[in-house]
Symmetry: C4
């Protein structure tokens, strides 16, 4: 099996849609290259309040999924507020690979922001 | 030998060419710093259908190659559709180092998106 | 515990605020996913003078913090000069995950620059 | 000692200066956090010709250095041609941390492109 079961993303910040052709958004893109479905649990960390825990999502075997923080069908009641610092931990029962992407359209042209997540322990 | 034999890229998304001076595109850039040719096999993962497997490419010993997802000479019949979420696994018989780059020109100015691939298992 | 106790960032360069809606800035975003507070010490490296050592910051247990290099409440007397190459080491008594982000607004539209920090020894 | 002695960068591509306020360029930023000077050797890889080997540079103990590919004082006779795919290996006798940065100004607004280098062997 390829991938890891725990991933971290320090710099989450949901951008507004903006007025451009491309709408501003941010995404956690999860690749499950293995033969079993991956059941994910997201934890959201904030600057000044307790984490929101155990937001559940699923990625099928040998599939990729793109979870966007403004979508109720992905984050339910935990849709992220705009322009607020937060961070994410992704846990999975099957190893996966997770990347973060942001498209900012607050000005005329889009700007991109991406990083692979971080894995590993002390 | 330097490098790894398996690389993952969760966030593939082929941009349109756009109307700018620079044409939008995305690339998988493969460095083979070793003394033997590297024979690669790409697997493409999608959101809602089976993977496309075993697209073959080659990188010579001590050479770099840039594989662009809109080029038939690189991806053959598997040229990627536009603006569609997909992911990639790159396997190689010789260790290599693989980076992803996207140039988006859907608006007046270009935007860049890059990450080193992820390697490693559970 | 998740994370690492030492992180490196080679490419620091504080941008001017600029004239755009979004003000130019750079940040070190620290996620502490563990159950103990993290006491951080930043070291700043320069091209042609001795490092500035032991700038202290704190991130609470299960919190994220965004330290911006133009803020006196974060960097005190060590607020970074503009457009000057420097680098950072972050040390922590509790494992953390650290990402760097820059928003450049020197021209009409913003440009983003981010990377996860690097950890590890020889 | 912190850092690694060998770093790889698959996607080098020197941009033109352009007509913007900020001039287009690309850089290899090397942090030497250790107590001994780092003597570096760059190898440049190309698509269709032999590598250029052993371009020498130095980074002092506890210093950061920014090597730009258009500068003769850094790359000597090996200043990179414009808009040509190449890749880099950086070797050092003292462990270092190396990041790549590109500022593209071919259109009105700048675009950034960065990644930490990759280290490790099979």
């Amino acid at each position: 099996m390829y991938g890891k079961k725990v991933w971290f993303f320090p710099d989450g910040d949901r951008p507004p849609f903006g007025d451009s052709l491309m709408k501003g958004h941010e995404s956690y893109i999860v690749l499950n290259p293995n033969n079993a479905d991956a059941h994910l649990s997201f934890t959201l960390y904030f600057e000044d309040r307790e984490p929101v825990r155990d937001i559940k999502m699923t990625v099928g075997a040998e599939r990729v999924a793109c979870f966007q923080t403004h979508r109720k069908e992905h984050f339910g009641e935990y849709v992220l507020p705009l322009s607020t610092q937060y961070a994410v931990k992704v846990e999975s029962d099957t190893p996966v690979i997770v990347q973060y992407g942001r498209l900012d359209a607050r000005q005329e042209n889009l700007a991109y922001y991406t990083t692979m997540g971080w894995t590993g322990g002390e």
